[in-house]
């Protein structure tokens, strides 16, 4: 398959950046989107040009490193996949494909398609944990957890922290990300003890980082590679109100 590409190139944080046109030829339909970029980069390097910088690592949809807006959608067309899982067979031959980085103030662009998502780590550091110490914890089976709660907690915990939700949201809200963590813990007896402090601190940090508020657009759920449900945002709101009022 042959493709025309429009790819965002930006030297560094301060550079203005621009779209640059490229062409790739004879790409296997089974190749992943990132492998298609590998092929393009290979030709660029051979010509002595700088390859397109993009984050990637596990290439099996779990590390959350990769992510770009492809044809206007976080992680490209398709549901429930990260960019590395996107296969070229979903495009049509000789399509023009546009790829650009996550765009939000809270994720400064470092180079080309690479953004700085450490804002998410700072939200985690503000309260995304249960304060159990190493050792000194009870035997694992001493606190039963209803299967349904454990499953729902796991649904939320599946978040890979890629930032697609933020990129998809018209308000650049990180609430699906925060909700996933708050929800995971709020559903478990182990997490209930610190539920108030946790939600208040995480939301405070989220605001500080410059992420916007949820306005029930639901684009986050639609673009989430792990299909995390917006009902977790509802739980986040409940947790937040509960913490504020009690």
């Amino acid at each position: 398959m042959d493709f025309k590409l429009k790819i965002w190139r930006q030297k560094n944080r301060n550079d203005k950046g621009q779209f640059v046109d490229y062409e790739v030829k004879a790409v296997s339909p089974d190749a992943s989107f990132l492998e298609m970029l590998d092929i393009l980069n290979d030709t660029l390097v051979k010509k002595g040009e700088e390859p397109i910088a993009f984050d990637h690592d596990c290439r099996e949809g779990i590390c959350g490193s990769c992510g770009m807006v492809i044809d206007g959608r976080s992680h490209g067309p398709g549901r429930g996949i990260a960019t590395c899982e996107l296969r070229m067979r979903v495009f049509r031959d000789s399509d023009t494909i546009v790829a650009e980085p996550w765009r939000t103030k809270a994720f400064p662009i470092l180079k080309d398609l690479i953004v700085d998502r450490t804002a998410l780590d700072r939200i985690m550091a503000a309260g995304g944990y249960i304060s159990s110490k190493t050792g000194g914890v009870p035997e694992a089976n001493s606190i039963p957890v209803p299967k349904h709660d454990a499953e729902e907690s796991m649904d939320a915990a599946a978040c890979i922290g890629c930032g697609a939700c933020v990129a998809a949201c018209p308000n650049s809200s990180a609430m699906l990300f925060v909700a996933a963590k708050v929800s995971q813990f709020a559903l478990l007896p182990q997490g209930k003890i610190e539920r108030k402090e946790r939600v208040l601190r995480m939301v405070e940090q989220m605001d500080k980082e410059g992420f916007g508020n949820c306005s029930n657009n639901y684009a986050c759920e639609a673009e989430c590679p792990k299909k995390i449900s917006v009902t977790h945002i509802a739980r986040l709101n409940r947790e937040f109100i509960r913490a504020e009022l009690t």
Partner: protein, 637 residues
């Protein structure tokens, strides 16, 4: 070099307790005066950094990722072992210990393995307390499954994302310490050299991967938790950035490298599709619990798998190993799959694949059960191959996956360089010649939560430290060495890309040093690898600038190291004239084609000592004694 394993005396079940009592402690108020550098923040690194920070040490943690959550530990799917005996099927610490020593084909250190089995239960307690949403039964208790080669159900799991959930637990604990200020995290930093002062590991040189700036950091001790070196094979199930640079640079500074030829080939990966392919995707071997592996009985079969009648299928693992069937250890399953394909029974467009079939399990249990157990794996398979594994058998093939070898460490997880500790996959200690399923997560977290925090404290409390600053000569010297290397890489301006060299090396490694090894092929590898290396340093093309975010330069340094490590791997494989675990020498097999160990000659750890690039390293031996699990030929019949 003398290798002192420092195994405590006394009966095996008392060794760790005795040792913990005998170790020196650092007074709580003095701990903040000690700085520990943690390189790598995957399972082992994050859990160790969090635990050390919590104890009050001043921890500097480094990762080439933007966040600890990106480490490749996250990709582990199947589970984590612990002998809780929740399933009431006769499990015990002793049995896990026995299984691990046997599974490792009697090339692991008994005392380490026993300790691993001992602390593994605490890991589950720890993770549950952290909010890891493990699978549970309807009564709300933790669920277990049987996993790769185990006859008891001792594997705890969180769907097919156990590594992710455990890493998130460790990352949470680490985040808490970052917030508390005991751990300072340095994202997008790659360690490029170890700094040794007066014979002690006292610091590191790293490159800021965004600005390209070379930085120096000093400490009282350095811990490497940087994972394994399976990317030496180019195509592997490892993440693209996984590399051996930290290990290799430490090796070149005097740390012995143990058993480099003990590499694991995982039996259930999605087969290679084309030459553009950048990596291989692992499917958890838990699939083998319900999936039956088969090939057509007829060579060059062209019918669709569904059209091949039952009597024309060869369920070869069930046929050869009636009691273990599809659950034989990884090395056996991998080798048999390759053998079937080599004989011409392979399936798919390349003939390099075998079927893994859920049809029986679906008719027995219903599709919903299979979906619940392996839903995400089936989705992943479908995404990649565009085939539906619920109706068409999966095609699988072995791929390089894990490395049991690594830097040599003593019982305290300290390398041959005082003050340099090594945890997780990066060390060699617990898995012998073959790692059992669901044991990698266990070992990473055991090292991080429950071993390093004690043994590091003991080292700090019992060592005299001179004052060291990053302005000292040793730091300057190491820094300029790295700057020179980068300059050299940038100035070659040859014709071949870094990727091309890596693929070339990978091809040699897979063909000659992969699954079935023999003298001729290994010698061929030892001839070809130095040639590739030589050409690399004359003809590699690294574009971009050194003082910028430059993925090509990052890769160039890593591939340069793989080009040296690959040679050591082949050399070790050549010297070990026996078959054991993942190391299968074709010259040494039983009549039935099973691995044939030579305990008289090779019951030792081969710890290689650097002697210069292109010069044969010095072989040091740590004899292995088996007092509790008597070596026998592994039999899974």
């Amino acid at each position: 070099m003398t290798l002192d394993s420092k195994i405590p005396s006394g009966p095996i079940e008392k060794k760790w307790d005795t040792h913990r009592f005998n170790m020196k402690l650092v007074n709580p108020s003095n701990r903040r005066k000690y700085t520990v550098i943690m390189v790598g923040t995957g399972l082992a690194g994050a859990s160790a950094a969090a635990s050390l920070g919590e104890l009050g040490y001043n921890v500097l943690a480094f990762s080439y990722h933007e966040s600890p959550r990106r480490a490749h530990s996250i990709a582990a799917q199947g589970g984590i072992n612990a002998p809780k005996n929740y399933s009431n099927d006769g499990d015990s610490i002793w049995r896990l210990f026995y299984d691990t020593v046997k599974g490792g084909d009697y090339r692991a250190r008994e005392a380490n393995v026993y300790r691993l089995a001992q602390v593994s239960g605490n890991i589950i307690d720890q993770c549950v307390a952290q909010g890891v949403p493990f699978a549970r039964d309807y009564a709300g208790y933790l669920d277990n499954r049987s996993f790769g080669g185990a006859q008891v159900s001792r594997t705890f799991y969180a769907r097919g994302q156990t590594g992710q959930q455990l890493l998130m637990g460790a990352y949470s604990a680490l985040s808490r310490q970052i917030n508390a200020g005991t751990v300072k995290f340095f994202p997008r930093r790659e360690m490029l050299d170890l700094v040794i002062v007066n014979g002690q590991a006292r610091g590191i040189i790293c490159r800021d991967l965004v600005t390209g700036k070379i930085e120096t950091y000093a400490a009282n001790a350095v811990v490497l938790a940087t994972g394994g070196y399976a990317n030496t094979f180019y195509l592997s199930t490892m993440a693209k950035a996984s590399n051996a640079t930290a290990l290799w640079r430490a090796y070149k500074k005097g740390a012995a490298f143990a058993n480099p030829c003990f590499t694991q080939i995982h039996p259930t990966c999605i087969p290679q599709g084309g030459p553009y392919q950048s990596k291989l995707t692992l499917m958890s071997e838990s699939l083998r619990n319900d999936g039956r592996i088969w090939v057509p009985k007829k060579k060059g079969e062209t019918r669709k798998p569904q059209d091949i009648p039952e009597e024309e299928r060869d369920y070869y693992l069930e046929r050869m190993y009636p009691s273990f069937g599809n659950l034989v250890p990884r090395d056996v399953a991998s080798r048999r799959a390759k053998e079937m394909c080599d004989k011409g029974f392979g399936v798919g467009s390349t003939g390099l694949a075998v079927y893994l079939d859920f049809a029986d399990a679906i008719s027995r249990l219903g599709k919903h059960v299979i979906e619940e157990r392996y839903g995400n794996l089936c989705d992943m398979y479908h995404e990649i191959t565009a085939e539906d594994p619920y109706t068409t058998p999966m095609r699988i093939y072995p791929a390089a996956h894990y490395t049991m070898g690594g830097l040599w460490v003593d019982y305290n997880l300290m390398s041959t360089i005082p003050g340099l500790f090594v945890g997780g996959e990066a060390n060699f200690s617990d898995h012998g010649a073959n790692r059992l399923g669901a044991s990698a997560l266990m070992q990473g977290l055991a090292d991080g939560y429950f071993i390093l925090p004690y043994t590091l404290g003991n080292y700090l409390a019992s060592t005299k430290f001179d004052s060291v600053k990053t302005s000292d000569g040793a730091f300057k010297e190491a820094q300029s060495g790295i700057e020179d290397m980068i300059k050299r890489l940038m100035s070659i301006n040859g014709k071949k890309t870094v990727e091309e060299f890596h693929r070339e090396l990978g091809k040699v490694m897979w063909e000659f040093v992969g699954m079935g090894r023999n003298k001729t092929r290994l010698q061929q590898a030892l001839k070809e690898i130095p040639q590739i290396r030589e050409e690399f340093w004359k003809n590699v093309k690294v574009v971009g600038a050194a003082n910028d975010l430059n993925a090509e330069l990052e890769r160039a340094g890593r591939v340069a190291d793989f080009l040296e490590l690959g040679e050591l791997l082949a050399l070790d494989a050549l010297h070990r004239e026996e078959s054991c675990g993942g190391h299968f020498r074709e010259e040494h097999q039983t009549e039935e084609g099973e691995a044939l160990r030579n305990d008289k000659k090779f019951s030792y750890v081969a710890a290689w000592e650097f002697a210069g690039v292109g010069t044969k390293p010095v072989l040091n031996k740590e004899p292995l004694k088996f007092e509790y699990v008597k070596p026998s030929q592994r039999s899974y019949k």
